[in-house]
Symmetry: none
Subunit: 122 residues, 2 copies
DNA sequence: ACCGAGTGCTTGGTATGCCAAGCGGGAGAA
DNA sequence: TTCTCCCGCTTGGCATACCAAGCACTCGGT
């Protein structure tokens, strides 16, 4: 059985190919737009290579979707169950808050996590 | 100015290192937990290599954060200068976080506001 | 018929991700 | 002091990401 990761690679590739066809683009057109060689794009779409984040990002941009969507669809960002969505949501809000310094962010997040684990423990 | 991408690599590495130290882990401990060799983790933290998404994911898991957060922090997911507005987004996130008690929410928000006014007064 | 232009895929090479082994230094114990 | 253990970092090599060039096919046009 194909290991879990190959599956996700396949899904990622299929997603990209679907999006490309949805945008009525040829493989070569997209490859040029995304500044990726067409052979490599072909291999990515067939799931036989794992593209780097930079490449995924570039492809996503060319397809007018977010890299987060591509990777998320393929289940490459969130992990199984665990790690409730609430965690990243509020932590991310803190981290992307431009009105705080890095140290303050650390502090807030640290306290936040302490609360959570304390709650989870009782 | 150094290539835009190297910057993000640096941020990613710094973020990982910060999170690791926040979790009071040595580089070797994290490397074993994340199933990544310690030399490579070292290089990643110093921003001189771009890790694959599989590795980022693995590290994220070991740090109890989402891969989305790590990549997002480094600006590797979103493209346009999202700016995020963030103004009261953080408070909203805290208040709607089901994993916190009301008292904890009050406490966090209170600290958060203190930080903001302190910064604004500089 | 032959063509030219488009499609996706294969092939070889170079660059980079990633690891096992080893290095030098700092801190505590005998 | 030396011994031992842990720290982070460097090195050399194998595995994989990525590209330039070329292959095989289809479809309209002449």
């Amino acid at each position: 059985m194909s290991d879990d990761w190959s599956n996700r690679l396949g899904v990622l590739g299929a997603t990209i190919r679907r999006q490309r066809q949805l945008a009525q683009m040829s493989l070569r057109q997209l490859s040029e737009l995304a500044q990726v060689s067409n052979p490599y794009l072909s291999q990515i779409e067939r799931g036989l290579h794992e593209p780097s984040v930079r490449v995924v990002r570039s492809i996503a941009k060319a397809l007018n979707v977010s890299a987060e969507e591509l990777l998320g669809d393929a289940g490459m960002l969130d992990d199984e169950a665990e790690a409730a969505s609430a965690v990243s949501t509020t932590e991310e809000a803190i981290r992307s808050d431009s009105s705080l310094t890095d140290e303050q962010k650390d502090s807030l997040v640290s306290v936040y996590r302490a609360y959570r684990t304390a709650n989870h423990a009782n």
